[in-house]
Structure formats: C-alpha cells, structure tokens
C-alpha cells in the first residue's frame, strides 16, 4: 500500500507542468519535497535536478525524467488564435476537443475544431491534421494574444489527477512522473551507507534522452537504473506481444529497446529479487522506443544500465491510467535492488 503522502506527491507532480526544456514547475515541486532531507540538491547546466545522498564507494544513478509531451506556442493567427507545434511524441489524434493550459500563468484554452454538422461525409472520418488546429484562449486579435502569451510558451493538457478506485489513478504525464515518485520516495525513505546515491530528475528525455546523457557524464556513476512509465496496451483489440505490459502485473522490466540492450546481470538481479520477495513483475514486450538508460550507458567508458517501468495505459495522451499497486511494487523493487548493492550481495 502506498502512503497517502506518496499519492499526494504523484498528484502534485502529475498536475505540475514540464515540457522538454521547460521543466521548471516539476523541478520546483521536487526540490521542495526533497529539501532538508539529508541530500545535497543542485541543478546542472542543462537543468537536471540532482540529489546526492550518502558517500559510499559504489556510485549509483537512479534516474527518472521530469519532462512530459505537450505543445508549444509557435505563432499567432490574425484572429487571436494561437498556432502550436508538438513537443515530444504526441499522438495528434488526441488534440481536437481538448482543454489546455497555456504558459507559466496557466491561461485556459481549448483546441476546437469545426462543427461536425458542417463537414462533408468524407471529412467526418478523417484524422484532423495538427496544422489545421489552433488553441483558443478567447483573444480577439493577434496583438491581444501576443500580449498575454509568448512564443515558446508551453501548453499542457488541463487534466486533473483523480483516484478512480482504490488502486487505479488517472492523470496526465504519468510518463514519467511515476518514475519521479519512485526516485523521490527512495531518497526520502532510505539510507544506503555503502552507496553514493544520485537521484537524478532528468530533462529533455522525450526529445532524445538529452539530460540523462549529460548527468551520466558529470556524475560518472558505476551503474544506473532508470525508472520510466511504459505503455500498457492491455485493451480490447490488442493482442500480445503488442500489449507490451499489463496494469496490475507489477514493475515492467525492459529487455532492450531501440537505444540499448539492457545490462543482463542488472536485469537478472531485478527479476531474482522480485521472485525472492514475491513481488509481481513482468517483461516489457515492446523492443522499440528509448529510455534514459540508452543515453546513459555510452557515456565516458561505459555505464551498465537498465530500465524498470511502471505500466501506464495511454501514455503520451492527455489522460493516463496507472495502478498504485504497480507503483508501490516498483518502489519496493527499486529499494530491494539498491539494498542488494549496498549490502554487497550484488556486484558488477
């Protein structure tokens, strides 16, 4: 079971806004949560938030990324509508008919589209290209729109975090705020005297694993574990292995993806620990896409790295679902792994 304050943290993080290159809000929430908790906290040149705990001989990087997918204000229409571009791999089909928040001051906006009554028969079945969509904040002219927004302003989905049941939660950006919760929780709850634990909240993962690359270079860890949110397509019409993972079946252990074949012994250790402690766990069936581990492992002379994820339905969409049990099990497995390193039970 998760503690109420962990769920509260997930709620705050889910509603916080952070796009690639603009993660300030998320960084602030995490900083506030971790300040004064026996960690040294700082940001590096690209914006990663680094929390260093302990001084032990084994340097471990525990990583989650702060950025989510969304939109950015890219221009204005004479009528006062905002033009936008996509940040990260967003599914354009989820854009029409959405409520959004624009910029630092979170101005309300909507992405509308033509009334269906006015469409040709043939148009009703087509996906609306992003180029034909605009964000409406109620401005009546280009000047008005430009006076309350700036080019480059982030645009987020106005999704509220909600608990749908005892175990299932809904919110935006579970990829990878769930990972941030795992890392934050680990830093808050545990001490590992023989480790120097670097909790890294990285930036710009969604546009190319950028922050993690930089952090791995200057921290030079002995190994790294990345915690991400991964796609669960355990829904009607999808057969395995395309389902990739299942809600409720525990942390998802990656075998490989498009950027890295996970370190075999690290991966095996995670499975061994899960089995020994009766924790549910599963393998990620997809072998495509990428996570921070792919950016980390080729830094300097190489860093053994592996990814473990919390399964989430509808990642990269405005509203994702996740199971608090999965989150709790992932937190536990991450701790067991670090503990086994700390005790010297697992070495590279």
């Amino acid at each position: 079971m998760l503690r109420p304050d962990t769920v509260a943290l997930l709620s705050r993080l889910s509603e916080a806004c952070g796009l690639a290159g603009d993660e300030g809000d998320v960084r602030a929430v995490l900083r506030e949560t971790l300040e004064g908790q026996a960690c040294e906290i700082y940001t590096d040149t690209i914006g990663n938030l680094i929390c260093r705990k302990g001084n032990g001989p084994v340097r471990v990087m525990l990583d989650a990324h702060m950025d989510e997918v969304g939109l950015v204000v890219a221009g204005y229409h004479d009528s006062g509508l905002l033009r936008f571009k996509e940040s990260g791999g967003l599914d354009p089909r989820v854009l029409p008919g959405r409520s959004v928040l624009v910029g630092r001051s979170k101005i309300s906006g909507v992405i509308g589209t033509q009334a269906v009554h006015l469409l040709d028969r043939s148009e009703r079945d087509k996906v609306i290209p992003a180029k034909e969509l605009f964000i409406d904040i109620g401005a009546r002219s280009r000047d008005e729109a430009a006076s309350v927004t700036t080019l480059g302003d982030p645009v987020y989905f106005a999704t509220r975090f909600e608990r749908l049941s005892d175990t299932i939660v809904k919110g935006k950006a579970f990829d990878d705020r769930v990972g941030c919760v795992v890392v934050a929780h680990t830093l808050l709850e545990h001490d590992y005297p023989d480790l120097t634990l670097f909790g890294v909240f990285s930036v710009q993962e969604e546009v190319g694993l950028r922050g993690a690359r930089v952090a791995a270079y200057h921290l030079a860890p002995h190994l790294a574990l990345a915690i991400d949110g991964t796609s669960s397509a355990d829904v009607p019409g999808v057969d395995p292995p395309a389902t990739s993972s299942h809600l409720g079946q525990g942390p998802v252990i990656s075998l490989l993806d498009g950027t890295i074949v996970m370190h075999q012994r690290m991966r095996e250790q995670l499975v061994t620990l899960a089995e020994r402690h009766g924790l549910p766990h599963q393998y990620r069936r997809l072998t495509t896409a990428g996570t921070d581990a792919g950016g980390i492992f080729l830094q300097r002379v190489g860093v053994p790295a592996c990814t473990m994820s919390v399964p989430c339905r509808y990642i990269h969409c405005p509203a994702s679902l996740a199971s608090l049990d999965d989150l709790s099990d992932t937190i536990r497995l991450a701790h067991l792994f670090l503990e086994s390193l700390d005790k010297g039970e697992f070495t590279l």
């Binding site: 690209i46 571009k85 080019l151 546009v207 690359r213 930089v214 270079y217």
Partner: protein
C-alpha cells in the same frame, strides 16, 4: 561587398561533407587578419581564436557554422562512361534531371544529369520522379578517359555561380551554410574593433549535413566553451512555403531559436541585445532538435549552454538558395555584440538553470 565576395568564393569551393579541406584553406586566408591563432582539429574542423582581454582564465564563447555542403559521390562508372551517383546529405532529387554538374575528378569536369529521354518514356513514367539509380551523369567523354579521370567516390556538385538579385539578395549553391560562415566573418571583423573579455572561437565544423554532428560534437569536447552558438540557415518564406511558425521573410533579420536546444537565459540575452541595438530578429520555436550543430554541442561533457542564430534562406538544398545580405550583416553584428558582452558573471548565471518568468 566583402561579404558578397566571401560568399562567392566559398560557394565556388563547394566542400561536400567529408571533403572540407578546401573551405578550411579559404577561411585560413580570409580570416587570418582577425584571429590570434588558427588550427585544424583531428577531424578537420577549422578553429580560429580571437583572444579576449584580461587575465586567464577567461570565459569562452564558441560560434559554429558548418563548412560542409550536400552533394553527390560517384558510385560507379558504367559502360559508355556514364556515372552513377549516390547522395551525401539531404539533396533534393526533384531537381536533378537536366542539371549541369561539376564532377571533381582528377581534373574538374562538367557533366549533365540525364535519364531516358521523355519521348521514349511511357506517359506514366513521365509523371513520376526518377529514382536516383535511374539517373546518371554524362560528361560527354569516352569511357576510358572517364575511368582514368573519375575514381570511385569522386565528388559531384551542382554547377552554379552566385548571382546577384535585386535588393541586396543573393542566389547560389551551398549558401547553407556558407551564410553561417559569412556571419562568423562579419562578427570577427567587428570584434577586432572592440573589446571583449571572453575568448571567441570561430569554428567551421565538418560533417553537419551527413549525420551525427561529428564536427560540432568533437569541437565542443575539445574547446569546452562556456557558451556555444550554432550559426546556420532557416527556412525563408515565400508563397508556397509561408507557415508563420517555421518560415521567415528575407530581410527580417536572423531567427533566434527557442526550445529545449536553446538555453533560455542565452535566448533572452540575444533578444535583449537585439532590442537594445535595433537589430531585427525573429523567434523560431523548435520543440525538439534544431537540426543544427547546437544539437551536437549541447550534451557534450557536462552540458553546454547553446543557442541558434539562423539566417532566412529560400529554396534550401537547391542550387539557387537565396538570402538577403542584410540578414547576414545583422546576424554578424548581433553575434559580435553577444560575444563582447559575455563575462564570468553571465556564464555563472547560466549554470543555474531556470527560465526567468
């Protein structure tokens, strides 16, 4: 005039990715007067240093423009002396048929890109774009001479002289990114007349068009600049291509990039200076890769604050790329001003990352 001459000379050299030595020689000669030191890196980047004033350690600013251009390489000599070619970089094959080309063999040759003539193609064939392997280069020479003069891998370039259009606009081949080099030239000339605390590295990078930014990445690794600015070109607006979020009118000045590849404090710094000195600029919102050397430089070592400054260019990757000389001068001035204002205080401010509200 000097800017035009520099553009024309660099365009004539035409350095395809992997073969940038010719451009290095031109930059050496033309920029020597403004540089304290010049050298060539292991992979072939041109590195010119204009030292700042004051005791060491001095902050360093690097500005990178890529020396390489897109082009073709000969992959086979066929019966009859016809040459088959393969692309280097994002060449636009819609405009190959019938083009005149320079074949840079043991001596430069002229060729024409040909294919099966239209009167013996079927109507369906005539409507389709020919794949590259159905095109060939015809030098008009006998096969034996071609085999003698054109080794495999010979570089093939579009044949085009730089043309002056109205209003100080220029059209020519490979202005992507000779325009960027010209901007560096303008900045160097201005900096020579002024005082700047920081060391300035004017870097001509190799290989930007052909892959993973080998030039920019290794240059940034070697130089460890505190600030790195990529100077490149961006899409110039014209009727079939006028999306206001990604195209910019010629004459509107350089576009300053905004997005994850562009450090927000550096962006504000550039914008403020442009405002203070009345230099026209636009903002170019790029939510992902900027497609410039900045993408290669930003994640080197422990991370480098980067920004992009791009000159609007119509008809990118065609032999008739078109730009406004005034935009080059504006960009060069802005770059010089930026370099001259970089201090340790500014650099220290960059390492604490947060957008100002």
């Amino acid at each position: 005039m000097r800017v035009f001459e520099e553009l024309a000379e660099l365009s004539r050299v035409g350095s395809v990715s992997g073969h940038e030595a010719g451009t290095v020689a031109v930059l050496e000669r033309r920029w020597r007067q403004w540089l304290d030191e010049t050298r060539v890196s292991v992979l072939g980047n041109f590195i010119g240093l204009a030292r700042g004033l004051g005791p060491m350690p001095r902050p360093t600013v690097a500005a990178a423009a890529h020396m390489d251009c897109i082009g073709f390489m000969v992959t086979r000599v066929e019966e009859g002396g016809f040459l088959r070619i393969v692309t280097v970089g994002g060449t636009d094959r819609r405009l190959l048929l019938g083009q005149e080309v320079d074949v840079m063999g043991r001596r430069p040759l002229t060729g024409v890109v040909g294919a099966k003539p239209p009167h013996i193609s079927t109507p369906e064939e005539r409507d389709k774009l020919l794949p590259l392997d159905e095109l060939y280069v015809d030098t008009g020479l006998p096969e034996s001479e071609v085999r003698e003069l054109v080794p495999l891998g010979t570089v093939v370039l579009h044949r085009q002289e730089v043309t002056q259009l109205r209003n100080g606009w220029i059209a020519g081949r490979y202005l992507d990114d000779i325009a960027g080099l010209a901007v560096l030239g303008v900045a160097l000339a201005e900096l020579r007349e002024s005082v700047h605390p920081a060391d300035f590295y004017a870097v001509g990078t190799i290989g930007e068009e052909a892959g993973r930014y080998p030039g920019a990445t290794t240059a940034a690794f070697e130089l460890r600049p505190n600030v790195a600015i990529a100077v490149d070109v961006t899409f110039g607006a014209y009727p079939s291509q006028d999306d206001p979020t990604g195209t910019f009118p010629l004459g509107s000045g350089p576009a300053i990039g905004v997005g994850p590849n562009c450090h927000p404090k550096l962006v504000n710094f550039l914008r403020d200076l442009a405002g203070e000195f009345d230099i026209p600029t636009s903002l170019e919102v790029m939510p992902g890769s900027t497609g410039t050397d900045a993408w290669g430089m930003q994640t080197v070592r422990g991370g480098i604050p980067t920004a992009t400054l791009c000159v609007p260019l119509r008809y990118m990757h065609t032999p008739v790329e078109t730009l406004s000389l005034e935009d080059i001068r504006s960009a060069g001035r802005l770059l010089a001003l930026t370099v001259s204002r970089v201090t340790w205080t500014f650099v220290e401010g960059l390492s604490c990352y947060d957008r100002t509200p």
